[in-house]
Amino acid sequence: MPFARTTDRTGTVFSWLCGGALAVNLVLAIGLVGLIGWHGLGYFWQASVASFELRDGSALIGEIHTVEEVPEDSAQWAGEQRMRVKIGNRDLYRLDFRWVNESEIASIEYPDDLVVLERLEWGNFYGRMRELRRDGEVIASGPQVWTRFGEVYEEKAAEREAVEALERGPIGDVNYAIEGLRLQRRRLEMAGDSTAGRLADVDQRMAAATARYEALAEELFAMREELKDTTVVMEAANGQTREIVVGEVVRSLRPNAMGTLASLRLYGSRLWEFVSDAPRESNTEGGLFPAIFGTVMMVFLMSFAVAPFGVLAALYLREYATEGPMVRAVRIGVNNLAGVPSIVFGVFGLGFFVYSIGGTIDQLFYAEALPTPTFGTGGILWASLTLSLLTVPVVIVAAEEGLAAVPRIVREGSLALGATKFETIWRVVLPAAAPGILTGMILAMARAAGEVAPLMIVGMVKLAPTLPLDHHFPYVHLERKFMHLGFHVYDVGFQSPNVEAAQPLVFATALLLVGVVIAMNLVAIVVRNRVRRAYSTSVL
């Protein structure tokens, strides 16, 4: 390089160049995470709620979200400020947001008695509490409503939890049992097993389970009815009132009367809800637990599939195969595989895993459930296997590099001491190459966790009714469909009808996905460092 020879023999410029490249990378990474973090973490913060008097005599209640200058072109309001106000009350106004121009506003106040109700349906309600009713009779009105509401809310929240526990627990169990019995009955019928005894036995158990279900359902409906008996009458900005069932309120707050500590506790509680709860309102509210679970489980399954596969292939290529055009061709092929668009893997997974293998499994083992497919449709197993195909080149390349880095002298030493080739590989080469292999796994996991496109056709869904892991035998249900953080970002960002309100959620989900990837990588890195330490003391 003439550049190095003539102008910069000491390498000062070059080292600056390297440092600069690193700096650009760092700025990009920090900027991206910072942007996602800024938007995403703001999602959980409760802003003050303002009460607007407008010049035309109407009123508004809401949170001020953004303030901007009206562009020159908007003839009427040009040059002045305007703000986007979250007015909520979707059941009254249809839209969650509204723009208000500065000159329209007569006054803005932040009274303490403004209440935000987070509801199970229809989003937030902004307004003032007027009355509390039980079975249609007023039990509190005026200023006492707020204090009384707190007590009633506690009671109703406990009731709602009981309802949910009943739905998830006993009712879920009995339904699972009924479905199992139905399939068992069908299997007996199909086998032509008219042994009346067995069929009658299944029928009897079915009847018992159905009766149990009926009883539970009755209990459930009674509990739900009770949940509905108390309502709070809310008054929105312009005096319209709305009666809201207390049992359907997730949280009630008076943001303007909250201190810093209360605000922080609210923030924490929302954050916790986000990572631990199930989603609501077609994924635009509530938490993301099933999606976190689905993402992590899928990546783990993928790792179990890809690790042995990739390492064995690399071992063969590096240790057993004779170097030659064939091996070189295979190696080039593997490297190119990493460049195939991921959706192609998705289509392959759909055709090969889902339709061919899954369809055959269904015919052989789950014929009683047909035409409803069991394995013959997308599921977490097929998604993991598809992704393991996608990431196997990464693992092969990394493992090969790891194996190549083991000094020849070590192998020869082992062989000279009388170890066979297999013993040498198993006891000496593989442990020494393990950190390199694990590095490959880390890269593969990060790649897999962020991949969305191929999963859309092999088992990822917007809303999965059940987790792929539960307390029903056999505990792991590999045929089930699953939710995924990456798909959640895509779905809420591009398909959500209420995109304005859901946008911060997209950032929060993206941040969560980054967090999950970092957490998984940290685990892998800790494992790698342990392996490395163990190797450096015991073998060499």
Binding site: S58, D73, Y93, R94, E500
Partner: protein, 322 residues
């Protein structure tokens, strides 16, 4: 249940005359859903992505009534519904367009009778501009001249700048920036058929992967114009009034105009089911469709931003189940 209908009525009465945002309600004549016995099993739905949210919400509501059923909903596009119904991997095929004759034929070849089409909601496609754009209205030939390179609806020349659409001042020189859906979408096909008179889109239309991202794009882009379902409206955009032909009446996207059929870009959303003539339908499917056509089901339609059916239509659709 009856209380809820009353509730909806009360709500409407209370909010009458409220703010500029459009206000609509479910037809008070719609019957409340009544629970029946003997409904169990698992319900699979495969089809439209436009209806994905709606199906999810319906399924949630239906499961409230029957906690013992299981539902699985896949929304990968309207075209995935007919094959799923034919292969019987789904009992319900939601579609944002009517089945094509070839799809119906294929179904008939397999079963010997056509699939049953149920109208479940009304969607209006709106043409959106940025909230700061002063334009109020367009005719369909003008819309065609903006989005299409073939101009089959009769415009003599294409519209490239906002000045050509009638705006003055700084706007006159500004080029239009077009947003639309990708070709896999039913919305793309519907708009092509109705607003472009089956012509071709311009190459400059920025194709978006979802209806919400069209609206987002127009909200961020001062010069933007795009089409998307009325349910996706946000505070950052404004829906234009449209006239079917030059000189015709400009019609707003308010629910009354859409329901009366005056708005030129309104369509039904459908569920397709496999019903053998003269044989009773599987109770699970029957009850699900009845739930969808009840007051509760249509309230969900409203919540998702679409327009509910009137009792007369719903009644006719319910009759198809018998």
């Amino acid at each position: 249940m009856r209380r809820q209908v009353l509730f909806a009525g009360l709500l409407v009465a209370m909010t009458a005359g409220l703010c500029a945002a459009e206000q609509t309600k479910v037809d008070p004549a719609l019957p409340a859903y009544e629970k029946v016995g003997g409904v169990s099993g698992s319900l699979n739905s495969i089809g439209s992505d436009t209806l994905n949210n709606l199906m999810t919400l319906w399924a949630e509501g239906f499961q409230k009534v029957y906690p013992n059923i299981r539902t699985q909903i896949e929304g990968k596009g309207s075209s995935t519904a007919p094959p799923a119904l034919i292969a019987a991997t789904a009992q319900i095929g939601p579609m944002s367009r009517a089945m094509k004759p070839t799809e119906v034929d294929e179904f008939e070849r397999r079963f010997g009778y056509p699939p049953t089409q149920i109208k479940v909601a009304i969607d209006a496609l709106a043409v959106y501009v940025n909230k700061d754009n002063p334009l109020q209205q367009l005719t369909i030939p003008e819309v065609d001249a903006i989005f299409s390179k073939t101009r089959r609806c009769g415009a003599s020349q294409g519209l490239d700048t906002w000045g050509q659409a009638g705006l003055e001042g700084a706007w006159a020189e500004r080029p239009m920036s077009l947003y639309g859906r990708n070709s896999a979408s039913g919305t793309y096909g519907y708009f092509k058929e109705k607003a472009l008179c089956k012509g071709d889109y311009r190459d400059t239309v920025k194709e978006q992967p979802g209806s919400a991202s069209v609206v987002q794009g127009v909200a961020e882009d001062l010069r933007g114009i795009g089409y998307s379902g009325i349910g996706y409206k946000t505070s950052g955009v404004r829906a234009l009034s449209l006239a079917a032909k030059p000189g015709g009446d400009y019609v707003d996207t308010d629910p009354d105009s859409v329901l009366s059929g005056k708005y030129p870009l309104a369509r039904f959303l459908y569920l397709y089911i496999n019903k053998e003539p003269n044989r009773p339908l599987d109770p699970l499917v029957r009850e699900f469709v009845r739930f969808v056509l009840s007051a509760e089901g249509q309230r969900v339609v409203l919540k998702d931003g679409y327009l509910p059916l009137a009792q007369a239509v719903a009644q006719r659709e319910r009759a198809k189940l018998e």
